[in-house]
Each structure stands twice: as C-alpha cells, then as structure tokens.
Symmetry: C2
Subunit: 493 residues, 2 copies
C-alpha cells in the first residue's frame, strides 16, 4: 500500500492522536513512510508553480525547486504541495539528520521544560539557563572530536566559520604579542578606523573549490562558484589548489600522490608569500570532502601533510565539517578518517547538527569576553532537538548504517559507471556521502530534473557532479530504489 | 504575596496542568508574575558562581552575568539559579518582546502543524513549506514598513545586515552596468581570486558609535567599541560622525541643529571622497537610535537630510532596526518618527522580531538566484512564535503601552536627573527605549551592579550610559518599581 504512512498521518492532527502515541522510533518511521516514490504531476506541479509566483512577488525565489508538505513528509520521503512523493536523497541541502517527522523529535516539546527553553530564548552569553553547562556537556561535548574540549555555539554554518576565523585571529595576534593580552593605544585607536595595527592584515587560506559560507568573511574564503562572490568586496586572502584525483583511485595511486604533493607544496609556498607581503595566514580552512564545490575528496596523507605545514608555519588548522559532520561519512566526523597525529585546532559544524558552532582546543579560548559574541549565541531549542538526534543515532547504530547503506550505494554506482560510461564517472566518497561526475553541467542538470520527475530528489554540486545526501535513516531498501530510479533516468538521457 | 506566580508555576510542570489551561493572556501573566523583586543572596549567588566555573571550563564565559531559571521566570520578572527574583529592564539584550513564559507562546507548539514546522526545518530557499508564502504575508508583511514590499528572512541581526549589504551592492553594481545583469568574463574570473572587478571595491558608510554586528562585513561597519574590532581585519569602509546632542533638547535647539548640519556635511564629503578613491559608497547604514554604542539619538531633520544625501549620491539608505524595531520606541518601527519623504531602501531587523531578516524595495530584488542565500534562510518556527507576539501586541495595544509606560519612566528619570545631577544626565529616548548618562564608566558599572543587587537587571551601553530595554508588557507599576529601586541605588553611590 503506497500511501499507508501518509494517509494515516493526514487523519491524525491533534496532539493525543494514535499517530503520536504509536510511534516507536525508527522502526515505526520506516513502517509509516511510503514504500516507494509516486509522482502524479509534472514536476513542479501546478500548486508548486502557483506558490512560486506568490513567493517570488515578495523575494528573489528562483532557487526554489518545490513547495513541501511537511505535514505529510515522513522518514526518507518528501511530499510536495501537489501530493507527489519523492525519495529524498538531498534532505534540505544535507541538513535533515534522521528523516522527516521522527517521533522522538515530535515528542521533545511535549515536555514542558523543553517548551519553556524554546519560548524563553536567552542571550546565552549573558544569561544562560541553569541547565546550559550540563546541556553542552551531555549533547555537544558527548560527540566532541578527540582533543577538542572547548565549544562555542552559533546559529548557522557561515557564522560558525566567521567566528572560528575570529578565534584563530585572536590566538594568532596573541602569539605575535608574545602571549600578552593587552592592546596598545595605537591598536585601540586604529581599529576604530578599520586600520592596522588594530584591524591587522591577517588572512585565512582556503582551497580552490571550497565552500565556507556567504557572509563577507566566510565568502572571502569560499572559492566554489562565481555566482556566490560576484559584486561582493573580498579580503585579500590566499587560495591554494585542492587535489583533483583520477578515478578509480586504486588505478591512479602514483598520480594522485603526486597531486597531493603538488597541492601541499603550493600551500607552503603561499603561506610564505603571504607572510612576506605582511598579510600572514592565521588559519587554513579545509573541508574533509569539498561539498558544494563538487565533492572533491583528498587522501589522509594530504590532510596529514596539511597539518604538518600548518604546525611548521604557525597557522591554525580549521576543519569545516558543516556538511560532512554528524555521521553521513560513516564516522561522526569525517576527519576521523585522516588519522591526524594530533587533533585539528578548530572543527566547525552546522546542518545535521541542527545548531551551528565550533569545537576548539583550550589554547584558542579568546583571552577577553565579548569578542566571540552576539545576542543569542546559538539556540537552546536546537540543542534539545540535537540531543534526541544523537540518541536516535546511537540507539539505531545509524553511523554504522551509513557505512552499510553507503556500500550498497557505492557498489551500485560503480555498476552504473560501467553501464553508462559516457554519463557516470569518478564515483567517490565515504559512507552515504557519495557522488559521481556526469559529462557536463547540462547533462547533470537534465539528470537531476528527470530524477525528480521519476521520484527522487537529488542534489548537484560543482560543475558536473551529483551528490548523494540522504538522511542517516536511509536503508538498503532505499538505496535500491535510488539506484533503480537512477538507472531508469540514465537510460532516458 | 511575593511568590504567588513563581510557586504556582513550580508545582505545575505537566502539559495539561491548570497553569496552562488557566492562562488568559497578558492579564494572567501580570497576575501570575511576582509583585516585586526579591534578592536573597549576594548577586551573583553561589549557584550562579558554581555554574559559571563549569561553563567557563568549556568556553570564554566571562560575559555571563547570571544563570537563569527560565522555568520560574514570568512576565517582566527574571528568576536566577539562586532563586533571586529580578525586575528585568534589559530582557536578554532587548530580545524578549512579551515577557517570559507568555501563555500564547507556550501554547503555539501544542498545535501539531506548528510542531511539525519546528521539527522539519526546511532549506527555505529551495523547499519551503506550502504555507510559507502565506506565513510571510500574514506575519512579516503585516507589519512591513510602508513602501517596502519585499522580504528576506535570516537568522540573526548580523547576518541580516551582511545580506542587506550584499543586496545593496548587487543593486549598485547593476546600476553601474546600466541595468545589465550579465557579468563580464573578467568579473567572473577575478572574483574567484577576491579581486576587482568581480570582487569590487564597494563600501558601506556607517557612523561613529554605531553597532551593526560582529561578523566580518557587519564588523567593518560597527564603530562602537574597540573590543569588538581588535585583531579582526576590516574593509576600508568610511565612518562619519553621528550627532552628539546637548540635553535637555529644548534648551539646545540651535546647537543641536548645528550638530546635525556638521554631521551631514561630513557624510556628503566622505561619500565624495570614497567615490574619488574608487571605493564608492553603495549604502549608508544607520540605527534610528544608536543602541549598543550609547543610545545616541538624532532628529527627524537629521534623518531626512541623510536620506536626501543618499538619494543625491546614489547610495542606498539602510535602516538598522535590529534593536529599535517591534514596538519599544512607541512605534512599530522607530524610523516612522522621522517622516521621511520616501521610504528607506532597506530595513533590517532581529531581536524582538525573533527572526532575523530585512525588508526592501522591489528595485533591490537581486537579479539572480543563490546570491542572497544560505542553507536555512531563516527558521519557520520563529515566524510561528512571532505571529503570536504580533497578536499579543495588537490585542493588548502594547505599542501604545510602550508610549504610556515610557512617559512614566521618562518623567521619573527627569526627576532623578534633578535629584542626582552628578549621577544622572542627558535623559533621552522614545517610548520605553530610554537611557541616561552617568558620570563615567566606573560609576555606571557600579550603578548597574548595585541595581542588580537591589533587584533590577539593567543594561549599559556606550561609555557611561544606562539603557532601559524592558519587554513590551512593562506596565506603569513596573516603571514605578524600577524608578524606586534606581533612586535607592543612586543614593547608595
């Protein structure tokens, strides 16, 4: 029965309805969700088109693909305004951790104390709730990357990176002052004019193809696509090449190791160059897998080499796990794959973590108050939700599930690569955090559009890649449906 | 009975308890809240101190004043971890619109559909819910400043300003291209290197004493205090003087008008200067009342003159209503006081609005998708809360209340100014958005500390000012308590 989940939800909208009481976690979600996609209109359908006009009259809405019915969406299935049912392999730009309408999330705010935390949003930097330190420990610190025992909460990926940069810059300047935390009168007066030495020349090195956000600091380090950057002033910050591997990896080991070496040499050279031009590199930011820029991966050896360079040059290493974090790679944090000899200095997160923020080493704790600060400093209600998400992940071994499902997906994609060599190549990734290249942008967009018409929401990235970003509750059966529909779609192209 | 509110809440923590059902909006809040402050320990008390140690072991927590008991806080009263009860005249840096634990907010997520909107957070720029356009209309557009018929939702004040700057810069560059929306190959390639013409020299003019946030773009326009800016690179953006009036206003009309003129002349000169040095001013950002920087106000004539200059020079006028917006000034938007001949180009908001965002004129709609964009683009659950806040404001005439209560407060402050001329001067502001200067920073901090010990949470701003930022449910009786305790405190100094 195709719509059993959706129909049963539809009829139960009041609080103490059976649908709420009957939920028993993941098993129930998987039982309640539709058995497969069902598209009844051309996509986008008439209702989505009508709503688009409405929204576009109030804002630039051209990026909108579909209007959703979140009341009816369930588990891995996204239902749109026209009643079309899609298997969701993009999950709100990779930001839905355990699927739609998970009962443990729906139940959270039936607890009066959680509800009050939601309604009475504090200025966390001034008047945190009495349970806040414990909440940070129980939730965020319980999954902290090894060696990072400090935490700052933020609201989104961009502001997490922006504040990570500031943290790193304060650390760097304190080092330059020989550990002194006082400022000179010249620094104090010049910063008010946006001039050095108070507003110093300091840079963040990022990589070609990287994406770190769209606010001015984050944007100065984003290097994925011109459309993000055009017309916006940017800091003179350096960019280095990120490895571009040949696939399959096991056939190009020598070439790819050479590629690592080429990129690392340039990183070292550029840091020296910016030191000489008096705009030193306070920090290097890198994604474990470049996501928005095209799902470019790099080897553990590359990241080990990068950390070594950072340590030699005195630059902080910031790992941006905004998209890779919270399990989809098959580890909680994707950088765990790299076996770094020592922890990275800062790890930023958002998306599946529901709250933004960053972990950092104690030595990066800013020496003064009010410098990494804003009114809200995060949102306790998101931590309350994350607490449940982490419970569900643990109870259901969802990180292991990402590995298992990912293996099914990867094997399937490798088969399709053989079957459609002109359309699919360079299958890559870890866990369910997978992708493949198509032949060019036009073909990629056509595949995505047909996929959607056939019942699967997928995401593009880079110039010609398709990325898989399912929720952590994506099972082998969903992988098989995804692969079947992808195969059907590739045949149509 | 002092603790009637708090005790009755404490004993009722389950969902369908009388406390929930008995609520009848504002009247009930005012009945349930304590009758006056009650401080039983030295402040901060032992529990707050203990929790501080805990939090400070994980992050730089020196800005924390008190740990709160949000379960027990009610209406205008903030209860801390030690059971101390304070009248709250700062309200989480001015971000609590209708007091703590308002029943209409506590009830919102008992509606299953609202709960689902909370749990299934969409990427609003790609897959908004089918009710989203209507929600924008019913909630945000229902209070849009006249003439601004476009809206972008964001997450906080800083990112609202950052994205307002980007919007204004895209508009400015499109003008420079003679309305063409295509980019040259040189623009496309240069922006990827953070270089002009793709990443052009464009600036935002702000004012001495202004506060617009702490991310790198916002921070480049913030000019209130060195501590926000030190060690962070900043753009070469211009700063102009903001009027510094003599008080009482009616005795210094000529001098203050001269001050307006002096500042406006400099604005015009600086815009010309930056045009000549090839870093044109795309936009001017200004607070209706400079808040964090010291509650400096300016006359309607100043703002009218500023708009005229912006129009003549071709720069956009951005009004930052992050702190002034949503009623505390005695109007929904403080800039309504200025009788501007035409609407400002962009108005940004956050704090009491619970969601960040900005209103803008149609001509500022970015010509392409994905340029004012991020993963979440706001948060529907905050709009659902704001919808109730706006209802409560309307039902209870809370904007009119801000005027009435504000008048009581202002009259009282003016009396205290006469009684304590060495401690209180320059009483100023609109509605309950009021402030006064003390004699210096040390005295100001001492007053705030004693105020707190005497049962009132207040906020400082600028070098020596104390700002009043009560919730919109602050009544005449609260004003009287505030004034009594302030008087007692001033006597102690």
């Amino acid at each position: 029965m195709l719509f059993r989940g959706i129909n049963s939800i539809k009829s139960k909208s009041c609080l103490r309805s059976p649908v709420t009481r009957d939920f028993r976690g993941l098993a129930t979600v998987l039982q309640q969700e539709p058995s497969h996609p069902h598209v009844r209109t051309s996509v986008p359908g008439p209702k989505s088109k009508e709503l688009f006009k409405d929204l576009n009259s109030m804002q630039q809405a051209s990026s909108v693909q579909l209007f959703a019915d979140y009341d009816k969406s369930m588990g891995n299935y996204f239902v749109d305004a026209d009643g079309n049912v899609f298997l969701d392999a993009f999950t709100q730009i990779s930001s839905v951790p355990i699927g739609y309408n998970h009962p443990q999330l729906l139940n959270v705010f039936k607890d009066e104390q959680n509800l009050k935390a939601l309604v009475n949003r504090p200025a966390l930097g001034v008047f945190p709730g009495l349970d806040w330190p414990q909440k940070l420990k129980n939730v965020l610190m319980s999954v902290a990357p090894a060696g990072l025992d400090n935490i700052a909460t933020m609201m989104c990926g961009s502001c997490s990176n922006e504040n990570a940069y500031k943290t790193v810059m304060m650390w760097y300047r304190t080092k330059q002052r020989g550990g002194k935390i006082d400022f000179t009168p010249e620094e104090i007066s010049s910063c008010m004019l946006n001039q050095a030495p108070g507003s110093p020349n300091l840079s963040i090195l990022s990589f070609e193809g990287s994406f770190h956000g769209r606010t001015f600091g984050a944007l100065s380090s984003t290097r994925s696509k011109p459309i993000h950057k055009l017309d916006c002033p940017a800091f003179d910050w350096p960019v280095a090449p990120f490895p571009r591997y040949k696939y399959p990896l096991d056939q190009f080991q020598r070439e790819n190791a050479q590629e690592d070496k080429r990129c690392l040499e340039q990183v070292a050279d550029i840091i020296d160059k910016y030191e000489k031009k008096n705009n030193p590199v306070a920090g290097v930011i890198v994604e474990p897998i470049q996501s928005e820029g095209g799902d470019h991966e790099a080897s553990p050896a590359f990241f080990q080499g990068l950390q070594k360079i950072c340590q030699e040059k005195g630059s902080a290493l910031i790992i941006d796990e905004v998209q890779t974090g919270c399990g989809p790679s098959g580890k909680m944090w994707c950088h765990e794959y790299f076996n770094l000899p020592s922890p990275p200095d800062v790890v930023t997160f958002s998306k599946k973590m529901l709250t933004g923020g960053f972990y950092f080493k104690s030595e990066f704790k800013p020496p003064h108050a009010y410098r990494v600060f804003n009114t809200w400093m995060g949102d306790p209600s998101k931590l309350i939700l994350l607490e449940q998400v982490l419970k569900v992940i643990k109870q259901n071994n969802l990180i292991e599930n990402a590995n298992k499902t990912g293996q099914v997906l990867k094997n399937g994609l490798l088969k399709l690569e053989k079957e459609f060599p002109n359309l699919v190549n360079s299958v890559r990734g870890r866990g369910t955090f997978l992708s493949f290249n198509t032949s060019n942008t036009e073909v990629r967009d056509k595949i995505l559009s047909n996929l959607r018409q056939n019942g699967v929401i997928g995401g593009g990235c880079g110039e010609m890649a398709i990325r898989l970003r399912p929720a952590l509750v994506f099972q082998q059966k969903h992988a098989e449906i995804y692969l079947d529909i992808l195969r059907k779609t590739l045949k149509e192209i």
